[in-house]
């Protein structure tokens, strides 16, 4: 197992390429990032001018079910920016998030500890504001990300696809420049079927050594952070509706479980600490849930 620190990121910001309206404040968003062309209109408001051209553009996260497309698996296609975040961004990212995805994009950035702006229209402002309020209430996240797979990222597109599928399968990895003997497994990128690659890595690691496992959903991706006395599991639901029930297993004995869920009160249930692992169930997983575990 190995840990590396993520820089604590500021809350995601909202990029608005429009003149100010009351809907902005009504949504509970205090400040906006705006293009220079809007500076005059936003005079007297809390706004920061940014140059979109200087930002790394990323797509909105989400799920595509692709029911009418022939493919090897019927599993839904999860569009996550997590692999890009894991690889590292040169600076701030700009995510274009329509179709109800602004809140998820904000949660995803929070889970991965990255600094992002989210470009979204007025329909998205309310849910974005609600998510940012929720993120602000979470206990401080100064915990390092945990992983036991080293991924020798060569910067190639194939490597990015490999990392996407490792993330998708909740195989906890970190980017390394050379094999790290502190990790259980070190792997190189492999072109071809990234799903087959992820399975190969899983077999190398073996399931009993997986630091985190998730049962009951194909659309929830988990991040694990922690130190000697705490664990934090961040759960991102990439679909557009709550998942009705998941079971989480993490290595180690962590009997005290506290849950923070976006938009609702949730309690973990059926906590079992046995055989060197802790398991608990969540009856629902909305867009974002953070679970704090302690000894």
């Amino acid at each position: 197992m190995s840990a590396f620190l993520l820089l604590a990121a500021a809350l995601p910001g909202l990029f608005v390429d429009a003149d100010p309206t009351s809907a902005f404040k009504d949504a509970g968003v205090e400040c906006a990032a705006i293009p220079a062309a809007r500076a005059e209109a936003w005079k007297g408001q809390c706004a920061t001018v940014v140059d979109p051209a200087a930002l790394t553009k990323l797509p909105a996260p989400g799920v595509r079910y692709r029911m009418n497309e022939a493919r090897a698996s019927s599993a839904p296609w999860v569009d996550t920016n997590g692999a890009r975040y894991s690889r590292g961004l040169p600076g701030k990212a700009l995510i274009t998030a329509g179709d109800g995805k602004a809140a998820l994009a904000a949660a995803e950035a929070h889970a991965f500890g990255v600094d992002v702006l989210i470009a979204a229209g007025p329909k998205e402002w309310k849910s974005f504001g609600q998510m940012n309020k929720f993120l602000a209430t979470l206990p401080g996240d100064d915990l390092p990300a945990l992983a036991n797979i080293g991924f020798l990222d060569d910067g190639s597109p194939a490597a990015l696809e490999n990392m996407k599928l490792l993330l998708r399968r909740n195989l906890l990895f970190r980017k390394v420049s050379k094999p790290d003997s502190a990790l259980d497994v070190n792997v190189k990128p492999k072109p071809g079927d990234p799903s087959a690659f992820a399975y190969e890595v899983r077999q190398k690691l073996t399931d009993p050594k997986r630091m985190l496992r998730l049962y009951g959903s194909e659309v929830v991706v988990a991040r694990l952070t922690g130190n000697a006395t705490r664990r934090r599991v961040a759960l991102l639901n990439y679909s557009n509706r709550p998942v009705e029930g998941v079971r989480i297993r993490i290595l180690g004995n962590w009997p005290n479980v506290a849950t923070y869920a976006f938009g609702e009160k949730l309690d973990a249930a059926d906590v079992v600490v046995a055989d060197g692992a802790t398991e608990f169930s969540l009856p629902r997983v909305p867009a974002y849930v953070v679970v704090e575990l302690a000894r």
Partner: protein, 375 residues
């Protein structure tokens, strides 16, 4: 009423199961803290014994209307013959006591066209109540809510009897026991667990299984074993994702998990209507047929062994390929929903013999006794 004594059936010549070799089987890990009962419900007190009650008037084949009075008589005769009791109440009390909390395992995978008929289920509930079980302690259960709702059970059931589905959404995990499951990796899927329906482990003291008589594209036929197994666990469709499925060993493995095996005390196969192709669904009207019978027993393997013959005979009469045909010439070569000589999978009727090998019942037809009753 015509009645024949229990007959020992000969083995069917030419039935080559071509079962997968043991070394090819997936590695299963069963997680359960429940000990088996002294006498597990499957195969129960009557291994190898089946009562087959036929009543032509049980179902109107033009309207599919079921006659409740005929069904009630079929059930009475079936249980008396199975148990050898003279008094109908005594027959029920061989399986159920008034303080039991009873689950009735429905089969709704093909509902509303084909399912455990509400008249049959209602008659079972009535008999349970007549034998002292409180209506509130009877729950008709299935996995998926939309299927259960489509069958409209509440309008047939005695007041107070519950109807419950494990999942409001198709794969929701909430209705399942997180501590009791079978773990297996079939093809690299990430979710390797199949958890048991929660009331089976935490609430029910007895279970009555009410399957239909159906062909099944993956398992060959779907009767007692598949209904109690795949209908009582989460995340089971993964066993038949590809042409070569794992239904052969998964069905029996699931049915053997405690406490499901011990608590499933009675099998009542509703064969008023059946499906001879495309099961578990009825894709076309012509694939439905009317055996107009019900089979009773405690041994799911023995009943399902007879079911193979019923489906096989009907398919033969319709000019369809055998359920034992393993040739890839017929797999995904057309639309199985229309053509009975094509399929999406290689059928695995050998799952029944495999389950017999796990101790769930008697597969050898020389050792199965059948009491035929005609009303």
């Amino acid at each position: 009423m015509q009645r024949r004594d229990f007959l020992t059936l000969p083995s069917v010549a030419g039935v080559a199961l071509a079962a997968p070799k043991t070394e090819e089987l997936p590695k299963y890990r069963v997680q359960s803290s429940y000990a088996p009962a002294k006498q597990p419900g499957m195969p129960g007190p009557f291994p190898g014994r089946v009562v087959n009650v036929h009543a032509a008037k049980s179902i109107d084949t033009s309207t599919e209307k079921v006659d409740p009075a005929v069904v009630a008589e079929m059930m009475k005769q079936g249980l008396l013959a199975l148990t050898g009791e003279k008094d109908y109440r005594d027959a029920w009390r061989r399986f159920i006591s008034p303080n039991d909390i009873v689950g009735i395992k429905l089969n709704c995978s093909g509902a509303p066209k084909i399912c455990s008929h509400p008249v049959v289920v209602a008659e079972i509930a009535k008999q349970l109540i007549a034998n002292g079980v409180a209506a509130k302690n009877i729950t008709c259960y299935e996995r998926f809510q939309d299927q259960v709702v489509s069958a409209k059970y509440p309008s047939y059931l005695p007041e107070g009897v519950n109807v419950w589905a494990a999942s409001a959404g198709r794969d929701a995990l909430n209705g399942y026991d997180p501590r009791t499951y079978v773990e297996v990796d079939f093809f690299g899927e990430d979710d390797t667990r199949s958890n048991i329906v929660r009331p089976i482990s935490e609430r029910f003291t007895k279970i009555i299984n009410v399957p239909n008589m159906k062909d099944h594209g993956a398992s060959g036929v779907t009767g007692c074993l598949k209904n109690i197994a795949y209908g009582s666990f989460h995340n089971v469709a993964r066993s038949h994702r590809f042409e070569k499925t794992n239904t052969f060993s998964f069905i029996g493995t699931l049915a053997s998990v405690e406490p499901l095996r011990s608590r499933t005390v009675l099998q009542i196969m509703d064969g008023l209507k059946g499906i001879w192709h495309g099961g578990p669904f009825q894709h076309a009207d012509r694939f439905g047929f009317y055996p107009a019978r019900m089979m009773f027993g405690t041994d799911p393997v023995a009943i399902d062994r007879l079911l193979i013959d019923i489906i096989e005979e009907k398919r033969k009469a319709e000019g369809a390929i055998s359920v034992f045909n393993r040739s890839m010439d017929y797999v995904k070569k057309g639309d199985f929903r229309k053509d009975p000589n094509t399929n999406n999978f290689i059928r695995e009727p050998g799952h029944i013999e495999y389950a017999g090998g796990l101790g769930l019942g008697v597969f050898d037809k020389f050792k199965i006794t059948v009491k035929e009753i005609r009303l």
